[in-house]
């Protein structure tokens, strides 16, 4: 073994905004390097989403009545886009919980790393993954006959709303990963995904549900995004008389902002409270 060289600490030891950006960049690189190392999980996830779309399109498609008599696949896809955003949260939660459990988080906290960088990097890396996921799904939709009829601006706005929802849900996922631990966290999130996903207007009209359930479904943040993107894409939807159903575009912006406003500070506070 050779003698070890001893680099002195950098001269400037004041952490600030540059450290947050640099450290986040390094940790985003970590996230991308993981996918390059192990693309299997990524491909499996993308493949699963495509499979679900095909199943709904060809297997259940015939059994469902499209409101207003439009194309079933055009009706289907906005719900699929949004559902996929919801079912991706568990990946975020698992990653956060795993770093905590393996001591990686403690290692980072014992280093001169900006305290916001690990969470910020997680959010950005997972947003990149969400963008790829959504891209693949948009292509799948186009391949089976789904079209956006609202023009370029409306289409961009719809994609933006879908990603905005995911961004909000990522912070929910981060918070849950910090609170619950290990396998508990995964079960907690998956338990949450199903009611959140299906108790919405994605596949079933809230007006056909018992009144109280229909109200919950109409006010579900997912329903707002699904309803708003159906309008923006010019795809067929349920409509509805409730105030929520009348204001889906507004709610599709408000809901994610509220979720971020609640769960981002909660996550940061929780991360800081790891110091007891």
């Amino acid at each position: 073994m050779s003698a070890v060289s001893m680099p002195a600490p950098p001269v400037d030891l004041t952490p600030g905004r540059p450290a947050l950006l640099a450290d986040s960049g390094t940790l985003i690189w970590r996230g991308l390097a993981r996918w390059r190392r192990d693309p299997g999980a990524l491909i499996a996830s993308l493949g699963f989403n495509t499979l679900i779309v095909l199943m709904f399109a060809y297997l259940f498609g015939g059994a469902l009545q499209v409101p207003g008599g439009g194309s079933y696949r055009e009706f289907l896809m906005p719900g699929m886009f949004v559902m996929t955003m919801v079912f991706g949260i568990s990946l975020t939660t698992v990653a956060v919980a795993e770093d905590l459990e393996r001591g990686v988080t403690d290692r980072l906290r014992s280093m001169p790393v900006s305290p916001l960088a690990p969470l910020a990097a997680r959010a950005v890396a997972d947003m990149l993954f969400a963008a790829v996921t959504l891209g693949v799904l948009l292509l799948t939709g186009l391949a089976i006959g789904w079209r956006a009829h609202g023009g370029g601006g409306a289409t961009m706005a719809a994609v933006g709303l879908i990603l905005l929802l995911r961004f909000a849900l990522i912070w929910v996922g981060i918070f849950l990963g910090l609170v619950a631990r290990g396998q508990t966290a995964v079960v907690a999130v998956q338990t949450l995904e199903f009611p959140l996903g299906f108790l919405s207007n994605a596949f079933v009209a809230p007006s056909t549900m018992p009144a109280w359930l229909g109200a919950v479904a109409a006010w579900n943040p997912l329903s707002a995004t699904v309803g708003a993107t159906r309008e923006l894409f010019g795809n067929p939807g349920w409509g509805g008389d409730s105030w929520a159903a009348q204001h889906y575009p507004l709610l599709a912006v408000l809901w994610p902002l509220v979720l971020v406003a609640v769960f981002l500070p909660l996550s940061v506070a929780r991360y800081r409270r790891l110091a007891g």
Binding site: A19, T26, R30, G103, R109, P112
Partner: protein, 321 residues
């Protein structure tokens, strides 16, 4: 504090709900030495390491590491410490080299320097051949060495090792011990927690015995053993009928009350540091024609020290906790 102390802790207290994990914890570790924190589970070893490595806030007291206050200047401390916890804190999906580059860049070494440092450390810890393999394919010993390497990226002034060989086989344990000795040769100060007495004996210059959140005894391993009253002579007589005669002779020769283990036909006695005591005892037995089957001069082990100080054995304490 004097600049000669790399770690100073004064009156540390940390409360979890209604229980004090640390309750007046004092510690001084001179620069360039290895201090072993020895104690059962729940004694406060890990809590003290987490406070000193800035992971946990202290409720009361004062702590300085490498000359900086852990509460007021945590980032100065963080540039000067390495932390190796009970389980390797690594990204399993990344290669060994990628892990070291990742942590090097988070220490703000810059891209080129981080890569250089990774290569140096992989070489030094005997991981060059596995550098490109994902950590998930590493053996337990290899993971620990990579974890140590990650704790050594800035060649820290103070290295914290929290039970660094937990769950390793003897070979992996020896690998880690060798690496730690190597680090100490470069001038690092090491604070090591362990439940294994032989590990403390092997690595530590000084030992602090921790119980119920405070240091209850402190000294070199030899100091602590000597405090028990020095060496013991153990004589096994050939015939059980000779036991009584042997006790009489040994009591006179060693000038202390022997203890008798009838089943093993063994008489043992404390002899302090009289070099001639062994010869005196054997002569006295020979004089009355008591044949001796076996004889041994034994230093107390740290296990004896631990038993004496805490009232229980380290191993049983571990099971009970």
């Amino acid at each position: 504090m004097t600049r000669a102390d790399a770690i100073v802790a004064q009156g540390l207290r940390k409360r979890y709900r209604d229980r004090y994990a640390l309750d007046g914890f004092d510690l001084r570790v001179p620069r360039g030495t290895v201090c072993g924190l020895l104690g059962p589970n729940g004694a406060g070893k890990t809590t003290s390491v987490r406070i000193l490595s800035t992971l946990l806030r202290l409720d009361e007291g004062r702590a300085e590491v490498a000359g900086f206050d852990v509460t007021r200047q945590p980032d100065q401390v963080r540039y000067r410490i390495g932390l190796v916890g009970q389980h390797p804190a690594l990204d399993e999906a990344l290669s060994g080299r990628q892990n070291l580059v990742l942590f090097g860049r988070l220490f703000h070494l810059g891209r080129r320097r981080a890569h250089q440092r990774a290569v140096e450390l992989l070489e030094r810890f005997g991981l060059a051949d596995a550098a490109e393999q994902p950590v998930s394919t590493y053996s337990g010993g290899m993971r620990r060495r990579l974890d140590l390497a990650a704790g050594m990226i800035l060649a820290p002034a103070v290295l914290f090792l929290d039970e660094p060989t937990t769950g390793l086989d003897p070979r992996g344990r020896n690998e880690v011990w060798e690496s730690v000795r190597e680090l100490v040769r470069t001038g690092a100060t090491v604070l090591l927690t362990t439940q294994q007495l032989d590990e403390a004996d092997q690595l530590a210059d000084r030992i602090s015995v921790v119980e119920a959140g405070r240091v209850i005894a402190e000294g070199t391993p030899d100091d602590l053993k000597t405090r028990l009253g020095g060496d013991r002579i153990e004589v096994v007589v050939a015939e059980p009928t000779d036991l009584a005669a042997a006790v009489t002779q040994i009591r006179r020769a060693a000038d202390d009350e022997p203890t008798v283990d009838v089943d093993r036909r063994m008489v043992s006695v404390r002899v302090g540091h009289q070099a001639g005591a062994l010869v005196d005892v054997l002569r006295a037995l020979d004089a009355v024609n008591v044949p001796v089957a076996d004889v041994a001069l034994r230093r107390p082990t740290l296990d004896d020290v631990f038993l004496h100080l805490t009232g229980h054995r380290a191993a049983t304490a571990e099971v009970a906790a």
